[in-house]
Amino acid sequence: MGVLSMLLLIIHLFFITCTKLLRYCKMLAYRLIKIATISFALILLFGCKSSENKDRAPLVADEPADTLSTLIKFDNSVFPLPSPWQVSSLIKKLNLPYNDKFVNKPDNYQKYTTSFKQSLNLGIYGTDLSYLNIYEKIQESVSYLGTIKKLSEELGVTQAFEPEVFESIERNINNRDSLTRIIARAYANSDFYLKTNDRHDIGALIIAGGWIESMYLLTQIVQENNNREIINRIGEQKHPLDNLIELLTPFYYKSSEFSSLIDDLIDIAYEFDGVIYSYTYREPKIDPEHNLIIINSQSRVIMSEYHIQIISKKIGALRNKIVE
């Protein structure tokens, strides 16, 4: 009996090790492909660099960006832009019609019992609130605020979403611009609170939820309205997605939920590798009087119908897995 238990334990440990090794290999393969792609792009870039770039005058004396100084990252943080508020601004600018099927129902919060799902959905509801805000859906916004309040209580981030924040939101419920600013501020406070209290994993999940929902909104809109600006904005998410994966990677082995989320995002990132992105440097124009610099460099995104559809499908599947 003892020998059998021992044997079962060894088999169990063997399978766990194999699973972890497989995940590690998958991540390693993803990184190697990325390095190879970047190297190939660099070879192409330096091989084909125009004389315009070579002749340009730098803003200060020629000083290479690389130095012997140690490079550190902002608390391992990156900026997975666009923020949910920026996506809403684009939708607002394009005068696209409102669709209530795009947002997660506020009552669904009751289904989220783990901090993993609560954090992701807190990010999702933030994006949804921002989406509702641009269409001045006041009644719905109040309901979403209630949900955000409850989820933040469950997660213990009430200090970030202080009562004054909700009072301020309620006071400005009719003022679309103020509301966007207050919501963005509340989420920034939550990020600050989580980082200073060593709860980086929760903060990263809220950011991930916000990004996934922003992408979900864009990819759903594009199914109904083949708008060029929206397609470009989807294609431009290639680098922000890489940043998001990098932000989440330290938590890969924290739980199977984390590793599954990261694997899904890596899978989407593979599809983004098919999006063609070109960039041309142009001299910036400085307006010192207004502390302003105009960046004239130009980029172009080429995204095939296949990639629009496959990315939309995979984003939809991931988002629905999170909200269900």
Binding site: A65, P84, N232, P288, I293, I294, I295
Partner: protein
């Protein structure tokens, strides 16, 4: 011995709150350069910085948007430099050319992925925190 132990324990217990107070103070300073028309991206970036260290990260700025970058620090004997490069390492902006201004607006005509570097000019500065805020103009 007991006195030393108590000092050590107090140091361990109070050190995080001292750091948090420093960061909160820094946040208040940074916010002064972040007027209401700028919407934060929902994240706050702060890190301790020691001599011979540089902070670097990558971010994407979207076309037809104006962004404000605010950089502030509680480091002594050093001036905070923030520089923006494109991914080909072309220098797009550095506040070093503008008397180390704590904030600057960047208007992007097209979407550009950038590398932001934060550094301190004097290598003999006292270690402290640096904070960066980024927001877009509404």
């Amino acid at each position: 011995m007991l006195k030393r132990l108590l000092i050590f324990l107090s140091f361990i217990v109070f050190l995080p709150s001292i750091s948090n107070a420093q960061i909160e103070q820094l946040e208040n300073i940074c916010s002064l350069y972040f007027p209401p028309e700028y919407i934060t991206d929902g994240q706050e970036y702060f890190a301790p910085l020691k001599p011979d260290q540089k902070i670097e990260f990558r971010t994407t700025f979207f076309g037809d948007n104006t962004y404000r970058i605010v950089g502030c620090t509680n480091l002594r004997k050093g001036k905070l430099v923030f520089s923006v490069f494109d991914t080909d390492k072309n220098l797009l902006f550095t506040n070093e050319s503008f008397d180390y201004s704590p904030f600057w607006d960047l208007k992007f005509t097209s979407t550009v992925t950038c590398i932001i570097q934060v550094d301190v000019k004097n290598t003999k500065f006292t270690p402290g925190y640096v904070m960066l805020l980024i927001g877009y103009k509404q």
